[in-house]
Amino acid sequence: MTATAPLLEARGLAKWYGDRLGCRDVSFDIREGEVLAVVGESGSGKSTLLSMLSGRLAPSAGSVVYRLRDGSTRDLADLSEAERRHLFRTDWGFVHQDARDGLRMGVSAGGNVGERLMAVGARHYGEIRAKAADWLDRVEIDVSRIDEKPTAFSGGMRQRLQIARNLVTAPRLVFMDEPTGGLDVSVQARLLDLLRRLVADMGLAVVVVTHDLAVARLLSDRIMVMRGGRVIEAGLTDRVLDDPREAYTQLLVASILQP
């Protein structure tokens, strides 16, 4: 297996909800350290695509192939439930738009970060706690708040806590669903800054779904524009945003508010 082999390959993905189309004919590769943004308006099939890529929704057609740490490639559809869960808490991360979906709100910040470690067999309290404290520091949460519950945290802190919780097992691929949605602009900027740094430091591959082109511009290397369940344009982020070819992409780019 060469270093340039893709980490994840999607081929001909389609999802039908009965007669209604979720998305169709989606094919792409992601390599290690690469950030792919999926943009489009509500109902364009972004979230359906993300659910299929992360193995949470079975596609109606097509396949998702993932290269494991041992170098072997596996079709996600063939993974057993135990393998899927293991992959999900070691090699993958999933950052939800609403931090309440991704955090245990009744469990302290330290417990939230430590959960993945304990799920894969960590049994030393001191080490789990030290690692949780280290990660809180890395996402710029005051370590003295390690025993507070996320309910006492602001929206931006919850989102950063969610990121720490996902990255603690050093995953290779992270899915993000509107990670900056619902945050105010200055908090968004700080979060994007943090994400950019972590992605670069850890060499993460990221699939980020967003309707915010600024997020795509700041974070991603490549971009896919979706509309009506299909990919209408794909390419390098700068190329697509500076020189959009499709009429719809031109409309999207033109509708960014300039203060």
Binding site: E81, R85, S108, G111, E115, V120, R129
Partner: protein
């Protein structure tokens, strides 16, 4: 020990009909074959409310034979309402011999305690279980907890213990302390104090758990490995007591705190009444009895009326 008598006419032996007992025995066999795994069974309505031991009674009824000697304890005591009623129930419907002495019994139904006298091969301990699912308050979906058991996906249990240490500095769970059976299933040992957890490990007796309302049976066959969950740097510690039993002076038992007056007076006594009485028969004296009766000497065990009108 009371001798066997003829059971009351009009009931099947030990109350339950033969088909029901077969059904329960099948569940018990499966539970014994998969230690710590919760086996569903078609729990019957019993002539008592849920929470009074309907699960334990059904298991006892299914395994009881005419030659068995039955002991029933509630919080370690043979003379509390629940224990007396259940013992009288089987005395009436099965006519079996009953006893309060752990060593004489072949079947012991219990709520909240494991007797202090070590159990031996051939004895069966039947637990009354209110909530069989150890993950219940961590994951509310029963479909999900079943998947978690199937995949041995127990990280969440340690999150709970982590939270305890973060909040209290130690694992604060003192009863129904979760255990791992043979390195596989995580099991709720019913609300016994964690003091009793080590007694389950490698016990020569068969241990059966019945939950009537939740319709689950699980089991620990003799000589099963039972470890209490913990962290490497916060190992499991059974409860310890500072004072000996005020009546028999025992230092090895689980003690109940009893308030003796309204001026803050209290004493600690064995929760296992059989253990305490056996020691007093042998002449042991705790601080309270020694003060009342400095001469000492063995005391006779109080008689408990077995055959209710």
């Amino acid at each position: 020990m009371t001798a066997p008598i003829a059971p009351t006419q009009g009931y099947a032996f030990a109350y339950l009909d033969e088909q029901t007992k077969r059904m329960i025995r099948r569940a018990i066999l499966k539970a014994v074959a998969i230690p710590g795994h919760q086996v569903p069974f078609a729990s019957r309505d019993m002539p008592m409310p849920y929470g009074w031991g309907t699960g334990g009674i059904q298991v006892t009824a299914a395994i009881l034979g005419p030659s068995d000697v039955l002991k029933v304890i509630d919080q370690g005591a043979d003379d509390t309402t629940n224990a007396v009623s259940i013992r009288a129930f089987f005395r009436k419907t099965a006519g079996v011999a009953t006893t309060t002495r752990t060593a004489e019994a072949t079947v012991i139904q219990t709520r909240h305690r494991i007797p202090e006298t070590p159990l031996r091969a051939g004895q069966t301990l039947v637990y009354q279980v209110p909530i069989p699912e150890p993950l219940r308050f961590l994951e509310p979906r029963e479909t999900e907890t079943r998947v978690m058991h199937a995949l041995a996906d127990y990280g969440l249990m340690h999150v709970k213990l982590y939270e305890d240490i973060a909040e209290h500095g130690h694992i604060a769970k003192t009863y129904a302390y979760p255990v791992r059976v043979e390195g596989r299933y995580v099991m709720d040992p019913s609300p016994i104090p964690k003091f009793d957890n080590p007694k389950m490990h490698m016990s020569p007796a068969l241990q059966l758990f019945g939950a009537g309302r939740e319709k689950r049976i699980y089991a620990l066959p003799p000589f099963t490995k039972v470890e209490s969950l913990d962290f490497d740097d916060h190992p499991f510690e059974p409860t310890r007591f500072d004072a000996p039993c005020a009546l028999c002076g025992a230092t090895d038992g689980y003690l109940d705190e009893v308030v003796t007056d309204d001026r803050g007076g209290r004493m600690f006594v064995c929760s296992d009444t059989d253990h305490c009485e056996t020691r007093r028969e042998a002449g042991h004296r705790g601080a309270l009895l020694a003060a009342e009766d400095p001469a000492g000497g063995a005391t006779a065990r109080p008689e408990i009326a077995e055959d209710l009108p």
